[in-house]
């Protein structure tokens, strides 16, 4: 495929991605930090809904032979060490690599610093990569997927995952309905919303 066409497709897909991230409010620092402090579960809801949808889509596309899967190799040392550092970064940035751009689009100025920090981080890793890939971080197995371990076709495993996620989401939604989690300013700032409503309720009438 030509690079120009790939860029056009990427832009179009990115606009849809950014639109959905903005509408879901999952890009809000209040929702991401709120998730990591276990006060707000919108991030988990969006994430699991997207994983389940992707699993159903890929079960069909792969099951009918239209596409090959492209899982990443299982590098446990790198997955654990990298994942822990990445998670710490997500909490401090209040964003992940994709939602940083949604924050910039929505007008958060600090996200520009996150972006530049991210570019420096990627370049720093690039300099370190030849050395790091010789350590335990470069060691690992092949492209291992759970359905192969269980000895079932991928599409069956993917549909089981999607069904399990639906059950989890139904339970999550009945425990924590999503609307109150948005807050008054749809930014996941539940504490301010609660404080504002407390003020309205406890206001003392003038004489």
């Amino acid at each position: 495929m030509s690079v120009t066409l790939a860029i056009a497709v990427g832009l179009l897909m990115g606009v849809v991605f950014g639109f959905a991230l903005e509408k879901s409010r999952v890009f809000e620092p209040g929702i991401i930090v709120g998730q990591m402090q276990m006060r707000n579960f919108i991030m988990l809801k969006v994430f699991l809904a997207a994983v389940a949808t992707g699993a159903v889509v890929l079960a069909a596309l792969n099951g009918f032979g239209y596409v090959k899967l492209a899982p990443k190799a299982a590098l446990y040392g790198a997955d654990i060490v990298g994942g822990l550092i990445l998670g710490a970064g997500i909490a401090l940035a209040g964003a992940c690599p994709g939602t940083t751009l949604a924050q910039i689009g929505a007008g958060y100025r600090d996200a520009l610093f996150t972006l530049v920090g991210g570019l420096f981080g990627a370049v720093a890793y690039s300099y370190a990569e030849p050395a790091l890939s010789k350590t335990f971080l470069g060691q690992g197995g092949g492209k291992l997927i759970f359905s192969d371990l269980a000895g079932i076709p991928y599409w069956v495993g993917a549909l089981i995952l999607a069904a399990a996620i639906v059950v989890i989401l139904v339970a999550l939604e009945s425990w924590r309905p999503w609307r109150p989690e948005l807050g008054n300013d749809v930014d996941g700032d539940i504490a301010s919303t609660l404080a504002a409503s407390a003020k309205t309720i406890h206001i003392v009438p003038a004489e």
């Binding site: 639109f19 509408k23 809904a49 990443k72 994942g83 822990l84 209040g94 751009l101 690039s126």
Partner: protein
């Protein structure tokens, strides 16, 4: 619907998940975001240090091919999509989200910018060690039932929860 301030997280999640269809059918790859930071960062850094391109990892990421630049366009498109969605709903954001004053215990923009820069730095350093982020390992890896991706996502949440609980203040 397009002018609403918020959608149900389930509807938005389904839209995001459906993006795997064009990704796999047209580009023959899965959704991802963090490689594009190597493409752009590596390209810019190579203007100052051309020797950087001798590192195979960098050369692979800055190469002009469909996958590399599709992802750069995808990530750039996210900013455009979020901007358009925001304008259509009429929502307005402050320069810094109000939660940061509580999370950092300081209203200083300089402190927030420094934390954002550091957070962004380790976010991408970690993502590149793990070979993927919330999109590549999370959305795509878990949907493909990848064992390594599931381990990476678990580690991300452990690192994120520990940091948000121990380093940041209650928001």
């Amino acid at each position: 619907m397009l002018t609403q301030k918020a959608w149900s997280p389930y509807v938005a999640g389904i839209v995001i998940g459906l993006l795997q269809i064009p990704a796999f059918l047209i580009i023959e790859t899965a959704l991802g975001a963090s490689s594009s930071y190597v493409t752009i960062g590596g390209l810019i850094a190579s203007w100052f240090d051309p020797a950087l391109l001798k590192i195979g990892y960098v050369a692979r990421h800055v190469a002009i091919n469909a996958k590399n630049w599709w992802q750069v366009a995808l990530v750039g498109g996210i900013a455009v999509g979020a901007f358009v969605s925001m304008k259509m709903s009429g929502a307005r954001r402050q320069a810094i989200a109000p939660i940061w004053q509580r999370a950092l215990g300081s209203a200083s923009p300089a402190k927030r910018y420094a934390v954002a820069f550091f957070g962004g730095f380790i976010m991408l350093f970690g993502a590149r060690i793990a070979d993927g982020c919330t999109s590549g390992h999370g959305l795509s890896g878990m949907a493909q039932l990848a064992v390594g991706s599931t381990v990476a996502v678990a580690a991300m949440f452990v690192g994120g929860i520990a940091t948000a609980t121990l380093v940041l203040r209650r928001i």
